[in-house]
Amino acid sequence: MSIAAKNHSGWLLLPLAFGLLAALSPALSHYALEIGFRILLLVTLAEAWNLLAGYGGLVSLGTASFFGVGAYALTGLLNLTAVPLALALPLAGACAALLALLVSGAVFRLRGLYFTVGTLALAEAVRLFMINSDSFGGAIGLFLAQDPPGLRGLYLIALALLAFTTVLMTLATRSRFSILLRAVRDDEDAAAQIGVRPFRIKLIVFIVASFLTGVAGALQGLKLGAVEPYGMFGIQWTVNVLSIVIIGGQGLRAGPLAGAIFVVVLGELLADYPAVHLALTGVILIIVIRFAPQGLAGLALRRRDARGERSA
């Protein structure tokens, strides 16, 4: 099949898949909706991180701060203002994006490992600040005054979020922007020499990723009905997202989905052995890095290409 034809069939199948997942929702049990929600949310987070780290080369360990800001912002908006939910979610994402904007000046002065460690320190600083600060509820956190939508409603919102994310990711990776991004990732200084503006590119990617992370956090906060700093700003979110993208395959479009399904299914299977589950995740992470640096999606791709070569 020609490349053009391949692309066209791709454009059709994606919206079809989303439509199918939405239409089937009344038939899904609560458990399926719960698992579905979790996977959808994690894929969104992973796509955002993939954009930042896989495509942009900015390995960030600060996911949790934007996630938490989104959650708290949503709770605050719904509790204190009359803003409807449909508006509050993107606004919460915007708050996270605002944080990204504020720290970008400082954080982008750092390169490579300094950037990574810097984002880790940032996440920890934000977490400590939220724990100490009484104006945001301190260690107790905040409670959502209204009842959140039912599980089916949350599932559909998550589906919509992922659809939006997919569109953004497609735009980012298939347009001219992707070339600029790759140039900045591979050699920032050289890119600057030929007229690319690295800071602006990095900023766009950072803001987009933080926005998506923030909306995901807002959705999680909505579902829980209660936000507090240890659960929302804790490192476990960063760990999960990192694991998903690495295991799934970074810098690949199918990576986040493959990784999220793998991690969630593993988690459900080992639900009764949590320490084993976590240790196993660490082991898998190491094995993947060592033997399959392109992750599960990369392995699948290589096999498909190998098969294609053999038949050619």
Binding site: R111, L120, I131, N132, V239, L278, A279, G282, V283, I289
Partner: protein, 292 residues
Amino acid sequence: MPNLEVVANSLVSGVLLGGVFALTALGLSITLGVMRLVNLAHGELLVGGSYLGYFLLRHTGIDPIAGLALVGAAMALLALPLQWTLIAPLAAKGMEAPMITMFGVSVILQNLFLLAFSADTRAIDTPYAARAITLGPVTVAEIYLIGFAVSVVIVLLVHLLISRTPFGRELRASSSDAAAAAAMGVDVRRVHALTFALGAACAAMGGVLLGTAFSFTPSSGGTYLLISFAVVVLGGIGNIFGTLVAGIVLGLLQSLGAVIFGDGYRDLVGLVLFLLALALRPSGIVRRAGHS
């Protein structure tokens, strides 16, 4: 504003504790400088040292600080196969892969500790672990003073090791230009392995001191990871004396933050300082020629 005695006690305690921070950060500094390894499992190596010291005391009655060298050696021996199997094969693959590997190691170790030792909080219980000592107008914890003294001694020893011994020469050569060093006959792989072991040993010894002064659980490594990073960046990667000074300064400033804002803000103060240091030095602290 609290009274003078409180302030003086706090600041002196901060300086002394800073010495211990320097020791724990030392290992991170060396591995970062020589191997370009962002060791995200550093906190777990530290807590591992605490557990080693705890069980050494429990089963043999040997005081962990007297037996500090034992703990360090044990950790070094444990670290060598880790480096050989997990890190060495990734030597040519840039900075990200080893960093994520160590991240995986950190998760594994935390859960190994949990499975093996349960989640119970432990503390190394020696007679001087919770004793006060009065030096003139100030009263400080005796363990802080001991910890400071021990840390300074070890830092000096490591400095001597790096500046005076043949191994030290090879280490310095590998860190400034690994390719050139290899061309000169230095076995860079062996240097990396031993450097990692040395770093792990320093972390473990720091862990014994901290485990005696405070308490530890399987997941308490994370806090010390960030403090160590802050010290390393402030002091200059690979700069031994810089690390000592930075540790002391950080301890002092943390205590100052505690006096002004409260103990809860200690870590936050440390992190803000760290972020400032990172931000104000655009390309990191010590820029090595030929490396970014």
